[in-house]
Structure formats: C-alpha cells, structure tokens
C-alpha cells in the first residue's frame, strides 16, 4: 500500500489532529467524538451547520469547516458514516438558540446515523432540521428505492446555506434554501481506477487496464455500467449528457460548472476536462459563469472525476460570492 499511514485505525484521528495543528485559533479537534469544529462556534445568533459522512472524501467535509461554510463536521471512519453517538455529541456541542442544521448525503448509513443522533438530541430539546442532498443522476430514483446519492454537489448546498446562516437566516429558511440548491444541482461521476482504503490495504475493487466505471458514487460504488476506457472528450460528453438531460438545463441558462477530482487525478487533467465541458455547454447555449476545478469530494486516491452543474440565479450568485474561510481555500 503506497500511502502515508502509521496505524490504519489512527488514520482519521491523525488527519484530524493535523488539521487542528495547521489551523490554530480557528479550528478545534475534539478527539472523543472525532469532530472538527470552528473554535468560535456555536453562536446563539446563528444556526449551526453540521455535516457528517464517512472519511476518505477530503477536503469534504472536515477541511471545509470555517466561517461561511460548516460550523462542524463529524466524520466517521473511512467510508463509514459516523456512529450515531458522534452525531448526538456534535449536535449537543453545536446547540444554538436558532437551531442546528444537519446536512446529509443520501446514503443509507449516513441517514440512519443521523436519524438516531437526531432522536437522541431532540430528547434534550435541541431544535434540529435535516437537509438531504441527492444530486447524483447516475442512480435513478425509480430503479432503486434507496434514491439518488448525495455527492460533490453538496458543496453548493453547504456554501449557500453557510453564507445565509452567517447573515442570521432562520432554520426553516435555510432548509428551504438548501432544498432549492439541491433541486437545481446535478452530478455524475466516473472512475478510472479503484481506491485503496488504509485499513484494507488493497484496492477496493478491480478495474481492468482498459476499463472504466461510469456513474460511480463517492466510494466507487457503481451506478451505471462498466465501459471500455475512452478518451477524455468522450467521457465528458457522456457525463455531460447525463447531467444536462436530467434537470434539464437548457439554452439561455447560466450555470456553475464543477469538475471535481476523485483524489488520484492531477489538476492538469481536470482542466482538460473542464475546458471541453465548458465549450460543449456553450455549444448548447448554456453559459458557464462560475467555475470550480479541483478536489472537493474525493474517494481517497481514486483516479476519476465528477461533473456538477448548478442552475444559477441572482440569489445563488450572491451567496456563492460571499466570503468563506476554510482550511482548503477552494471556494
């Protein structure tokens, strides 16, 4: 396993410790509950925004805690939702007069943990609301009743809701806003290689030298089908078609375009992907007015990328423009 790792079971705690050390004064690591929080949270004049999910998706979400984004992230182990107890304790730590907002990617484990954690916290009279992100078009709602997954699109939900919360928006307003962002956000991803979880020490699945997996989730779970490896433009055309036709986005729309690397793909390639996607959208009369190229929601060291579109309007533009201060300066 070609990784910087000491004890695989300490992979997440050691990473979180590193984040705290690199951000003294602004971020705090709470080892008991595997949690990264803003040093100045919670505040009673601001809804606390909390996201949890498995680890291995960094910078999501432990590295996007900060002013204008998350107040806390409670990650589980690599690719495992956090135990419900962590959700409960994080929620208690983030208790605010104005409430706590849970943002969850629509995965079975995450939903169950947050459900249980919410039940426990509500028993202590904490006001909680939940936002489910499910931007992944690879999974058809109709085919699998577990519904679409939440993937890289959650950055736009976090950014919008985080910005609005800084201005004192109420919990129910944030839920409405987040649902609105989610409803105009669509993503599809694909993997060129598998990834290697530190505790497993070997690739999670096998992908032949001439194969790729279209429609993967953020752990490499399949969504559509395994195909013969194609060149960059052909791959992008396929991702774009799936995304554009889903909402659909149409001529005259202004959109944000995110090309998200899955961890093992260099940023040089992501810009090749971006350039072609941008031009193909222009061909359809869809104008990209905001661009995001880099790693947002990864799958450890997987080579691959996802493409996200968000239909913009004045309110969203203004929220996406708002300042944000996070460990990785990606917004």
């Amino acid at each position: 396993m070609k990784k910087f790792v000491n004890d695989p079971q300490q992979f997440v705690p050691e990473m979180l410790k590193g984040i705290e050390l690199a951000n003294p004064g602004t971020l705090r690591y709470v080892p008991e509950y595997n949690l990264i929080m803003r040093a100045d949270a919670p505040r009673d004049d601001k809804v606390s925004i909390v996201q949890g999910s498995g680890s291995g998706h960094e910078p999501a979400h432990v590295m996007v805690v900060g002013k204008g984004m998350l107040d806390a992230a409670c990650p589980g182990d690599v690719f495992s939702a956090p135990p419900s107890d962590y959700v409960y304790e994080t929620t208690k730590l983030m208790r605010s007069e104005k409430g706590v907002l849970h943002i969850i990617n629509n995965y079975t484990g995450d939903r169950m943990s947050f459900d249980m954690g919410r039940e426990l916290a509500e028993a202590e009279d904490i006001k909680i609301a939940t936002l489910i992100v499910d931007d992944d078009v690879a999974v058809k709602d109709s085919t699998y009743t577990v519904g679409r997954r939440g993937v890289a699109g959650n950055f736009f939900v976090i950014k919008a809701v985080g910005a609005a919360s800084e201005r004192g928006a109420e919990l129910d307003e944030l839920v409405k806003l987040g649902e609105r962002v989610n409803s105009v956000t669509r993503t599809m991803g694909m993997a060129l290689t598998s990834c290697t979880p530190p505790a497993k020490g070997s690739p999670l699945f096998e992908l032949g030298e001439d194969e790729m997996e279209m429609g993967v989730g953020i752990h490499g779970e399949p969504g559509r089908r395994r195909e013969k490896l194609a060149n960059a433009n052909a791959i992008i055309d396929e991702l774009l078609e799936a995304v554009v036709s889903d909402l659909p986005y149409g001529s005259g729309d202004e959109v944000a375009l995110m090309i998200n690397g899955l961890g093992g793909t260099p940023i040089s390639e992501l810009y090749i992907v971006y350039g072609h996607a941008h031009q193909r959208l222009a061909d359809r009369g869809i104008e990209v007015t905001r661009s995001y190229v880099g790693e947002y929601c990864t799958s450890l060291d997987m080579a691959g990328a996802s493409l996200t579109l968000v239909k913009l309007d004045d309110e969203l533009n203004e929220l996406f423009d708002a300042p944000a201060e996070v460990a990785v300066r990606i917004f």
Binding site: F79, A81, Y86, T108, G109, M112, T145, P197
Partner: protein
Amino acid sequence: MSKTALSQAELVVRVIAQTAVGNETYFCELDAVVGDGDFGYSLARGFEVVLGDWDAMEYSDVGGLLKRTAVTLSKRIGGTSGPIWGTAFLRAGGVLTNVTDPGGADVIAALRAAIEGIKQRGSTDLGDKTLLDALVPAVDELEAALGEGAGAALERAAAKARESAEATKGMVAQRGRAAYTGERSRDSVDAGAIGVAVMFEAVTKAWREAGLELA
C-alpha cells in the same frame, strides 16, 4: 433472575463479539465485492470495545446486558451496521428487561423485536438481500425446533441461517450500497447475511462445547 440464564446470555454475546472480531478480514472481503469493504472493520471496532469493557459493564439481567451492548455498538460503529446492530440489541434487550426467568418463548420474542427494529431502522424487509434474509428464517427455524431442546434447535437454526445466507446469491440487492450495483449484485452473497450465519454457527458450537441446555 436465574444465574444460569444470565451466564448463558453472556456466553452468547461474548461468542458473537469474538466472532465479529475474529472474522474482520473475511467480512470485509465479502462486503468488498459489491459494497465498500468495511463491514468486517465496522463490526470488529464495535465488538472489540464490548469485549474490552466487559468487566466494567454494569447490568443486572439479560435485558441490561443486551442494552449495554447496544449502547456500545451505537457509539462505536458507524456506517449502516452501527444503527442496525445497535437497534437490534436495544430492542431485544427491551423485551427481556425485567423478565425474571427468560425461557425459549422470551428469547424468540426478543429476536422478533430485534427483527422488527432492523426492518424499521433500515426501511427494509425480507427479500431485500440484507442480513434479514438469514436472520428471519433462522429465527423461524429456532422457534419451530425449540421442543427438541435448545442445542438441537440452535443447530437447526444455524443450518437454516447458512442455507439462507448462501441463497442470497441470486438475489438483487434493494438496500444499502450493494443496491447501486443492481443486477451485478446477483452474483454474490450478502455480507450481512453470511455474518449472521457465521455467528449462529459459532454460538451453536460454543453452546454444545459448554454442555448447556436452555435454563
């Protein structure tokens, strides 16, 4: 509370915990086929705390033991398995709380409550290709065979669990990560179902070796 019932329950919980810890790699491999390969890791991380805290756990009856176990699992296990297994132990413990001398029927009632808890927590049912597809037939068998004595009934239940778990191969997953693979999930067994079978087999073996019968 009869000493015997409690120590039998302790044996069962310990064996389940040891089985989880001892099969970490195997259970991970099963989950890696169409899942994300962490099922064994998750169970092991939870149950090793159950074993480590064993002497410090405070309870006075079987219900208490199961509920303490549930709390530890919920605290330590993330992913799908934490809520699922935590809920199962919690509900079973609830049924056996303040039951002075739990007998066969009580055990079956506890297991049925665990099953209901899993169905509810996972919004799932028999046939979705989850651990329920081994657990439900095994509990049915256990109930039907109780008259033959606990040891024999356990043996029949374990055989049923194994048979049912193997039969998940051929089913299409409707829940959990495996569901995303759709038709591709048909070619492999469900990790959770095999986990249940392995645990039934381990409990049965330990039961025989300890020369026990139901209190």
